[in-house]
């Protein structure tokens, strides 16, 4: 057991840090506005140019074949530098792992490089109005059509879909519950997109209405009827390592401590110090997880522990910042951060569902 970064890893960190300090833009407008979306997409192109938008991908798709540890290093530097949120994250962190695991070589060649450059921006389409936590209850369906399928139904809580170009999600091709679901990719051109304004008034989500949208067979990911299995691998990465790397929370914790220092209240200081250590715990825990994955292990349900931990830590950090700032919070980025952190225990499987998973699949308690 050791915690030493190799010389190559240290060099990589230095390179990323230097590049970011030269290229990170001033704070961009929210990516949930048209101009902010465009600005974030342009930033993705700049990142991709330096082959930094998806460092862990194979180089043929625009990555650097970086190890998980190097990816974690990249993330630490990225968030510490105050770089923009990733408008491509649903594609890169949720879809891409499934594509690489279940896609055809043609699909990979066609979609990954465009995704890495932000040419395509992908929105996820899991939930339906009556299938949120109970995802297996979904009723959107795909019907066979010559050379492909026609999609019908109503998806909701699709992040980024207000401005995205493509989507991915599950549609029923037969059966009930977990069986007979198929994983589809689709352009959003023929889908009716109704943006949903969030607490901050901006359309971070959208509803998607499918009224016989045609997609060719090449837009099916994996085998028909295997969508649940493929998607679960994806949601496990949504919960686990890929979606919320420790770097984000380390950066937040550092800023929180700065904020608490000036307040002079020892009780608030204690809460800040506690959060700072918890961000470290998440980082160290992730190094352990990365090591297991690199050794070939599946992290599976244990990812739920990480989801509970980071989402509640993030909420605690932002709630503390709100208390530290009082009525000044709205004039800082902390208010938006707070609103966003409130969604953490909800999305990617609510924390109630995660605790069920931990209890049933990690601890072995009866369903």
């Amino acid at each position: 057991m050791d915690l030493d970064f190799s010389p190559a890893e240290q060099d990589f960190r230095a390179e990323v840090r230097d590049w970011l300090s030269a290229h990170v833009p001033e704070r961009l407008p929210s990516m949930d506005t048209p101009e902010g979306f465009a600005a974030h997409r342009a930033w993705e192109a700049v990142l991709a140019e330096a082959r930094l938008s998806a460092v862990s991908w194979p180089s043929r798709y625009g990555g650097r074949d970086a190890s998980l540890i190097e990816w974690l290093i990249f993330e630490e530097e990225y968030w510490a530098a105050g770089a923009p949120a990733r408008v491509t994250q649903n594609g890169i962190f949720l879809l891409a792992p499934s594509l690489m695991r279940s896609g055809t070589p043609e699909q990979l060649d066609r979609w990954l490089p465009r995704m890495a450059r932000g040419d395509d921006v992908w929105a996820q389409a899991w939930s339906e109005p009556e299938a949120g936590s109970d995802l297996a209850a979904l009723t959107s369906r795909a019907e066979p059509a010559p050379g492909g399928w026609r999609l019908y139904g109503h998806k909701t809580w699709s992040s980024r879909a207000a401005y995205a170009t493509h989507g991915f999600g599950l549609f029923r091709t037969s059966g009930t519950r977990h069986k007979g679901l198929t994983y589809f990719l689709f352009p959003l051109d023929d889908v009716t997109v109704r943006p949903i304004a969030q607490l901050d008034g901006l359309p971070g989500f959208a509803e998607l209405f499918f009224d016989g949208v045609y997609v060719p067979d090449s837009m099916v990911l994996g085998e028909t009827g295997q969508g649940w299995r493929i998607a679960m691998a994806t949601t496990s990465s949504e919960r686990g390592l890929a979606l919320r790397s420790p770097g984000r929370f380390l950066a937040t914790a550092d800023r929180l401590v700065e904020l608490a220092r000036s307040a002079g209240d020892p009780v608030l200081a204690d809460r800040a110090a506690r959060c700072w250590v918890e961000a470290e715990a998440y980082r160290l825990h992730t190094f352990g997880t990365a090591r297991r994955i690199m050794a070939g292990a599946e992290i599976g349900s244990a990812a739920s522990m990480g989801k509970v931990f980071w989402s509640e830590l993030d909420l605690r950090m932002h709630a503390l910042a709100m208390e530290l700032l009082g009525d000044r919070a709205g004039e800082t980025p902390w208010l938006d951060g707070f609103l966003f952190s409130l969604a953490g225990p909800i999305y990617a499987g609510t924390n109630e569902i995660q605790r069920n998973i931990i209890a049933e699949r990690v601890l072995g308690l009866p369903r």
Partner: protein, 320 residues
């Protein structure tokens, strides 16, 4: 010892509740800047705490607690506490205050921005040398971002103002307790709406309110609100008297009410799930009110610090 509201106090609360149901429904929060104020004024709401010589009813703060709780439960916009509670103790001599024709906003010490200053005819502004009274005509307002869409914040600047004599302590304590009463109302409003949602929303073939994880979170909100409320009522009695424990009792009330409302907001959002997070749902108004009022007239942390200083400092007197 009769620690419960009288029939009159309850009736006043019920009257205000009826007015707010009719004139400040959730839809009004989107459409109007100051819904139901005229109707409340017609009731005499803004004169409740004013002395008879200022055309008021001369009630004590405790008498209007159920009514204030209803303004929180309805998420009533506008500087309610400032006009109905602060003004009667600081500027009772201003003509027509009782009629509701004069809207007052306040910048308390320790806060950066004035809420609802856009509506105010008069502003009471804490400055290092003491309170200043400023007429709306003399003030420049700069909008500042805040959490609560129905309680916008403004930075104020002015050249002309009057000194406001006397100590603001009693008035600010009452404002703090009144805000705490509103927070109890916010918490109870959030609980009610969330219980309603949990009874009808189904997942896994059952109402989500039948799942123990949801039940227990809501039970904890009910407990928090139910045990914050008596601290608020006690504080009102303590400031009306006033007792030697008043300052500490006020802080206990505000901290507990703020925590109950913030917990209620957290649980409301968690139980609603993603839909609670949308602009479309009215829930967001109550969430925002919980956050904005918990920071008003001293953050929860500031009141906790005062409590700690007093109690650990050895002040273990109890009222009663």
């Amino acid at each position: 010892m009769n620690f419960g509201f009288t029939d009159e106090q309850v009736a006043l609360g019920a009257t205000v509740r009826d007015v707010l149901r009719a004139h400040c429904p959730p839809a009004a929060l989107r459409a109007e800047r100051r819904p139901a104020w005229e109707q409340l004024a017609a009731l005499g709401f803004f004169g409740l705490l004013l002395p008879p010589e200022a055309d008021g009813l001369g009630l004590g703060l405790v008498d209007v607690l159920p009514a204030l709780e209803e303004t929180g439960r309805a998420c009533l916009p506008g500087p309610v506490v400032e006009t109905a509670v602060v003004a009667p103790y600081l500027v009772a001599g201003v003509p027509k205050l009782a009629s509701g024709a004069v809207c007052v906003s306040v910048l308390p010490p320790g806060q950066a921005y004035v809420p609802d200053a856009d509506l105010a005819d008069l502003l009471i502004v804490a400055r290092p040398g003491g309170l200043r009274l400023v007429a709306a005509e003399s003030v420049r307002l700069e909008p500042r971002a805040g959490a609560d869409p129905c309680r916008p914040l403004f930075e104020v600047s002015f050249e002309e103002s009057e000194e406001l004599g006397g100590s603001p302590v009693a008035a600010l304590r009452r404002a703090t307790v009144a805000t705490a009463a509103q927070l109890v109302g916010v918490a109870r409003g959030l609980l009610e709406v969330t219980v309603g949602y949990a009874r009808v929303r189904t997942q896994f073939g059952a109402a989500i309110g039948s799942f123990q994880a949801v039940k227990h979170q809501l039970a904890d909100v009910a407990v928090a609100a139910d045990f914050a409320a008596p601290l608020v009522y006690r504080a009102a009695l303590a400031v009306d008297r006033p007792t030697g424990t008043a300052e500490r009792d006020v802080s206990a009330a505000k901290a507990a009410a703020g925590e109950a409302a913030v917990l209620a907001a957290r649980v409301a959002l968690q139980v609603h799930g993603a839909i609670g997070y949308t602009e479309e749902l009215d829930l967001r108004f109550w969430l925002a009110r919980a956050w904005s009022l918990s920071a008003a007239y001293g953050t929860t942390a500031a009141h906790r610090e005062r409590l700690r200083t007093a109690i650990i400092g050895g002040d273990l007197r109890r009222y009663p």
